[in-house]
């Protein structure tokens, strides 16, 4: 560590650390310490009062045989596997359309972006009214199109789909990130593709999509991480029901921690979630080598 010997370098380091010191303190106090503390609690029986009692791997073993745990994991993976890819496709359609020369594009941009900044809890309440089979307008539109009148949040078969639908309400945010990516694609590439006789569809698959893959990868990873943490919607709309259909991973974890006072079991669940998130992100990264284009465009 020769740089530490130079007084100038040392001074620069200290100054840098001084400016970021609030973050260092916060990171240690509100992230690193809690993550490790949760790990320790996961090996104990602890109600939140008194002393945690060491039980070794008992909490993890109990999860392994807990059918509700497996169901909550299954619910969460099902929800994420639908909501995230659909969200990417919807956002991409919005972005491609907004990238066209439309005079009134700022109106659409506002209309699509606004819903994504609204509070999720309020949106959840709105969807109770919107998707209500008797009092909602959504089902009336479905019936008008010859589709069945579904009791979205009252039927275990459709409750998760109702929440997948709700997730699309926030697609405008991703759409604008995609739009920024589309605008960054050099026009010359399209001109070259036109000269080679590529039509609009071919141009999308051969130019647009390959160049958008880094942005898509980013939104997939972020979406995965957030999808696995789905909670508020289920808490507000369905309270985990009907018949555990929306008893998602974090919902069950919340119940363990704050309703049943099983801090140990909840902490074990938290760490398992951490590991699942890391493994799935890694998996996407590994496969991404095959489909993400990292070539820089001059």
């Amino acid at each position: 560590m020769s740089w530490l010997r130079s007084p100038l370098e040392r001074r620069k380091l200290l100054l840098g650390l001084l400016f970021i010191s609030p973050w260092i303190v916060g990171f240690l106090a509100f992230t690193v310490y809690p993550v490790l503390y949760t790990l320790r609690i996961s090996f104990t029986r602890y109600s939140g009062f008194g002393e945690p009692m060491w039980v070794g791997l008992a909490n993890y073993k109990a999860l392994w045989t807990d059918t509700v745990f497996w169901q909550s994991l299954q619910n969460t993976l099902y929800y994420t596997a639908l909501a995230v890819p659909i969200g990417v496709v919807v956002a991409m359609l919005m972005a491609l359309a907004m990238n066209q020369p439309l005079r009134e594009v700022s109106l659409y941009r506002a209309a699509l972006y606004l819903p994504s900044v609204l509070p999720l809890f309020a949106v959840s309440f709105i969807f109770i009214a919107l998707l209500d089979p008797n009092r909602g307008i959504f089902n009336q539109l479905m019936v008008a199109l010859g589709l069945p009148n579904i009791n979205w949040f009252g039927d275990p078969r459709y409750a998760k789909l109702g929440l997948v639908l709700l997730a699309q309400f926030g697609a405008g945010n991703t759409a604008l990130v995609f739009l920024a990516g589309l605008k960054a694609i050099p026009k010359t590439l399209y001109e070259a593709a036109v000269l080679d006789g590529a039509g609009p569809v071919r141009r999308f698959w051969s130019v647009t999509l390959p160049l958008m893959t880094p942005v898509i990868l980013y939104s997939l990873i972020l979406g995965l991480s957030l999808g696995l943490q789905v909670f508020a919607q289920a808490y507000i709309i369905t309270n985990g029901g009907p018949a555990n259909a929306t008893n998602f991973y974090v919902f069950y974890l919340y119940n363990q921690a704050f309703r049943y006072s099983s801090m140990g079991a909840a902490s074990a669940m938290a760490w398992v979630l951490f590991i699942i998130t890391l493994l799935l992100s890694l998996l996407i990264f590994r496969t991404s080598r095959r489909w993400v284009n990292y070539e820089t465009v001059a």
Binding site: F30, Y33, Q100, Q140, P200
Partner: protein, 291 residues
């Protein structure tokens, strides 16, 4: 010889090309209108439901427009729950969150962008990586820690962490700070200003638009937060609006019109802020997507 086939292969120019371009534009327009209607429909339905009488809500199929708009539903809604106390709580948390975010993030981002020091970019990778830590991994421990500090039922657990910066806001601020020419800092240093003076007197005034963006995002974060208040606030007198809305939903029944009236009152300020500061919101997206 080589150029002739090329010219022949070129796709139709002139009217044919223009028509195809025109079709593309019209398909896009139709798609965007459909998406816009679909995304604004829930907001319309919120307001329409808020204005209906109990009797009208029982009608099937539901009426598309409120037949007899009940503006008094809004008054009833704010009397059904201690709305103004919850509003005051929400505003307190929001104000403190704005202060915390605006004070901490520019300073931290400055250290990550306008100062050179060994290991800086590695530490910044850590900032970015921290976004991917699922909140349940920290929230159980934080609850326990805050409980031991006696902070449960106060706004402190919601507000204090904000004063130590947040990854996303540090990132946004850093992007903005990197766009400011380094010559400005150098000039200040040559004039004998210490680094904190360069930060506060030369650079900070130039970053006010970005600070504004962070202030708006911070306000939104506090206003929209559900899980934080749910976990840390247990006494009704401390509830924020996010928790207050759940009062309309008992186990057996939902007061649809009152719930939607209260939801409208919660959503409306966000809509107004959005329309007023739309450029700031878009700025956040553009800054966030620069690599």
């Amino acid at each position: 010889m080589a150029t002739t086939p090329r010219t022949l292969q070129r796709p139709a120019t002139g009217p044919a090309k223009r028509t195809r371009k025109g079709t593309q534009v019209w398909v896009s327009r139709l798609l965007l209108i459909l998406f816009s209607v679909a995304l604004l429909l829930p907001l319309y339905w919120m307001i329409a439901t808020a204005l209906k009488t109990d009797q009208e809500l029982a009608v099937f199929p539901p009426t598309l427009f409120p037949q007899n708009p009940q503006w008094s539903n809004f008054r009833e809604a704010v009397e059904y729950i201690p709305f103004f106390r919850f509003l005051r709580n929400t505003l307190s948390v929001t104000a403190l969150t704005i202060v915390g975010a605006v004070v901490s993030n520019p300073l931290i981002a400055y250290g990550f962008s306008r100062l050179e020091w060994p290991g800086r970019d590695k530490v910044f990778m850590l900032v970015l990586a921290s976004v991917f830590i699922p909140f349940p991994v920290v929230i159980i421990a934080l609850f326990d820690i805050f409980a031991k500090l006696g902070w449960i039922n106060t706004f402190l657990p919601l507000v204090v962490p904000i004063f130590f910066g947040s990854a996303f806001w540090i990132f946004l601020m850093r992007q903005f700070l990197m766009q400011i020419p380094m010559d400005i800092s150098d000039a200040g240093r040559i004039d004998g200003a210490n680094e904190f003076q360069v930060f506060s007197q030369l650079i900070l005034p130039l970053t006010l638009p970005a600070v504004g963006v962070i202030g708006i995002f911070a306000a939104l974060h506090a206003w929209n937060d559900f899980i934080g208040p749910l976990i840390y606030l247990q006494d009704e007198s401390r509830y924020t609006l996010a928790i207050g809305l759940t009062f309309f939903r008992s186990q057996y029944d939902v007061q649809f019109n009152l719930l939607m009236a209260a939801s409208t009152l919660v959503v409306l300020p966000v809509v107004v802020i959005f329309l007023l500061f739309q450029r700031a919101f878009l700025e956040g997206i553009t800054l966030g997507s620069i690599k």
